[in-house]
Each structure stands twice: as structure tokens, then as C-alpha cells.
Amino acid sequence: MSTLQSLDVVARSATTVPTPQIRAAVPGVAKLIDESKCIGCKACQVACMSWNDLSEDIGANVGVLDNPAQLTPSSWTVMKFYEVQPQEGSLEWLIRKDGCFHCEDPGCLKACPAPGAIVQYASGIVDFISENCIGCGYCVKGCPFDIPRISQKDSKAYKCNLCSDRVNVGLQPACVATCPTGAISFGTKDDMVTYGEQRAGELRERGFQHAGLYNPQGVGGTHVMYVLKHADQPELVGLPANPTISPMVEVWKGIAKPLAVVGMIGAVAAGFFHYMKVGPVEDKAENEDVKVGPVEGKAEKEDA
């Protein structure tokens, strides 16, 4: 039971043939996190662990509310708290629910070497199929957001799967269902973009001049988006302004692969044909019983 429905897989890691394409017009889904409505209660963290049957070892207090301090193999979402000064003299306490963004162009999937260890559903959800994961850590290098975490227990990568098991049977993700303030909404990607823009507009009217939707186009847009109060400075809440898959990963997983394979096969083929054309360098004294024609003369004739 690796995937719930293979007809809904649109991309599969380390796979060179097309996935089933027959099913058309599956709407993309998205989760929208409204920073201005979040009260930092961490109910989403609890719901995530509850639904996914995960528990964290008791850790150490790092002096702030963030607990655990960052994402871990068993904490797929973590509330991050930021005390910031967006402008000189203003102090704001911003809260962001961190977790996988479910990129339209997922760097983890591009980097993964294990066939079917990472899949992207038609809904846009990017899911790790743990039984196929080999624990190499390439997804960590591919991700522009530092999301995947590899377990010390089983050397497998884990992250938020947007509750693909719930979404595939028509339910909301657990964090959405549990949020007490309605800061997290879930629906089709189009609806969430419209709603997010509308919320950003309301915030702008209320004085947050730079409020906006965080749906970064450098990774083709994301299926987890934020309404940010300061969308002009996403770095305030630890978000990259223009996330893209690293050019080093693009070269490594792009042009380098076919070039290297063609180069290596080419080297073998070149050797084969060189031998067939030129023949061996051999010691005539060791082959006196074999009559060999004048090799030098032959070479000269063909060169001319």
C-alpha cells in the first residue's frame, strides 16, 4: 500500500517514463495560513502528531516558545515565533506555522534517486513514500525551504504530507480541522489564492500596507501559502524572498545526468571501434608463427 491511487500520481521520483495520465482535470488543492489570525496555540502541532501517530522525545527548552526548536522527523509542523521590528520603532510578534510547502516544482522530488520514494499527486500534494526511501539525504539538498528531516532511527526522510490520506477521502488536513481561530483554511488552489488576496486586501485597509500572499513563483507556486502582514519582507518570519531549487542541484540533476551517461557509454564505444579500426599493439616477436601484413603500410594508405 504505497500510494492510495496511482491514477492520481502526476510525478514520481527517479522515474524516466510517464505516470498514468488518463485522469484529467483533478483540481489542485492548497492550504492557506493567515498569519494575522494565528494566536500561536500550537493546536495544529498537536493535531498533526495525533492524526499521524507521532510523538517527540522530551527535549530541552531553548529559551523561546518554539518547541521543538525546528522541524524534526516526528514534528512535521512547528510554530515559529519571531519578535521583529518591521519598521524603526515598531515591535511585532509574528507567528508562523512551519512545514512543507508542497511546491508545484518540488526540489526534493527532482533530487531523489530512489524510484517512487517521492510522488506528487494531481492535487499538488508532495508525498514521501517511506518504504521506497533509501535515506541518502538528496531531498534535503533539493529542498529550497529546509523541510525534510531524516530519522536517526530508520534513516528515512519525513515531512508533512498535507494529510494526503485525509485529503484523498475528502477530509481537510488535521491541522486545518483543529485550528480554533480559522487561521488555516483548505480548498482548491484557485479558491485559496482568491481568498488569500482578499484577506491581504483587508489587512492593507487596516494599515498593513505591504500585506500580501506568499505563493512563490520560483518553485512554480506552492500548495501551502501564507497571508503575510509584511509580504515585502518574508525574511522577517524566516521565509526566503525568492526560493528556487539551487542551481547546483539543477545542474547535478539536469544536464549532468545525460551528459555523464552519454560520455561513459561513448568512451566504451570509442575504445571498441578504435580496436576494430586500428587493431592491437602487439609484439611481433611473440607471434612469429602468425603471418601479419605490413601494419605501417596499411595505416599510411588509409590515412592518405
Partner: protein, 207 residues
């Protein structure tokens, strides 16, 4: 066919060469398996993807240790000399099968020396980046961009090393009588005279 034999490699050199050869094949296969999806099937003889990923660094370390032994023994003979430049100018003729016009080579000719040094540097790059990428011990301690650069350098160096090895193996198939230098430790005098005349003179001087 009563050929006199010349010793070319001592047992230590030959055994470290074959340690490198065996670990190279295994490290290359397990590495290529994770490099291109069409080669993932190569994980099967290692026991699957997890096992390939786990074994690969140990195979690489063994190869590097084997090479270190060979490097210490052979690097002096592989220093590029002014005479090699002359050989390089004629390399095209050698490739066309016209061996007669080649300037005389010592223990190693220019092409062999180039293969040696490219192997040295690519192996060093593989060793350093491979250690950086080693999970779960080293990689988690490093910044992500260091790992991204390491993984790219590792792939490029690996392809270089594989290409050099293809050339190296082909040269042995091409130049008859070469293989026994590593399988038996000796070569025939006529092989030495023909392919490495300066080395031949050196070895037979004072007879």
C-alpha cells in the same frame, strides 16, 4: 618462444592495485545506481537501495586507502618530464596505430602519467566530498550549500575517474602483453623494449 622476463610490479603494488580495482568496481556500480534513474537496478546486487547507500562510502574509503599505498609507491615514476612533451606531440600517430615513430618512453609514457594524475585528483575530490556527504555522521553538521556543492563535485569527479578507468582498461586490452604486469608482476623483455625502451635500458643496464 623463449622470452626473458623483467619484473615490473612487486607483490605489494599488485595487491593494492587489485584492492583498488575491486573496490572501484563496487563503489562505481553502487554510486552510478543513485546517479541516474536508468541505473537504479544496479542496487539489486548490493541488496537494494538502502544497502547500496550504506555500503558505498565504506567501499570508497577502502579504495582511497588502496590508492594511497599505490600512490606512495608510484608517484615518483609518474612525474611529468620535458621528454613527455615530445611524446604528447606524437600521441595522434600512436592512436592511429603507428607506434614506430613514437619518442621512447620510460617506465610510463605521457598518457599513462596523465591518467595517473587525473585519477589521483579525482579520487582526492571524491574522498573529501564523500566524507562531507556521509550520513548520518558528517552531512548533518554542514551548511546545505556546502552539501550541494559537494554532491556536484562528487558526481563530476566520479565521471572523470570512471572515464580514466575506461581508458586505462582499454589501453591494457589494446597493448598486448600488458596485463601480465599486474596479474603476474612481470613483462616480457620484448614488450618492455617495444613500449618502454628507456625503462628497458635502465632495467637491463650492467648485465
Amino acid at each position: 618462444m623463449d622470452q626473458k622476463l623483467l619484473p615490473r610490479y612487486k607483490d605489494g603494488e599488485r595487491m593494492s592495485h587489485w584492492v583498488i580495482a575491486l573496490t572501484f568496481v563496487l563503489a562505481a556500480l553502487s554510486g552510478l545506481a543513485l546517479f541516474h534513474p536508468s541505473l537504479f537496478f544496479l542496487t539489486t546486487p548490493f541488496g537494494g537501495g538502502q544497502w547500496s547507500r550504506f555500503l558505498h562510502p565504506f567501499l570508497g574509503i577502502l579504495m582511497a586507502l588502496g590508492f594511497l599505498v599505490l600512490f606512495v609507491k608510484l608517484w615518483r615514476d609518474n612525474r611529468i618530464t620535458p621528454a613527455d612533451r615530445e611524446w604528447r606531440k606524437h600521441a595522434g600517430r600512436m592512436l592511429r596505430g603507428d607506434k614506430a615513430g613514437m619518442p621512447p618512453a620510460g617506465k610510463y609514457n605521457y598518457a599513462q602519467k596523465v591518467v595517473f594524475w587525473v585519477m589521483v585528483w579525482s579520487l582526492l575530490a571524491l574522498l573529501v566530498t564523500g566524507i562531507l556527504l556521509w550520513r548520518p555522521w558528517v552531512a548533518p553538521l554542514l551548511p546545505i550549500d556546502v552539501l550541494r556543492a559537494a554532491v556536484l563535485v562528487h558526481a563530476v569527479a566520479a565521471v572523470l575517474l570512471i572515464a580514466m578507468t575506461i581508458m586505462h582498461v582499454y589501453a591494457v586490452i589494446w597493448v598486448k602483453g600488458t596485463a601480465r604486469a599486474m596479474t603476474r608482476g612481470t613483462v616480457t623483455e620484448s614488450w618492455a623494449k617495444r613500449n618502454h625502451p628507456l625503462w628497458y635500458e635502465e632495467q637491463t643496464k650492467g648485465r
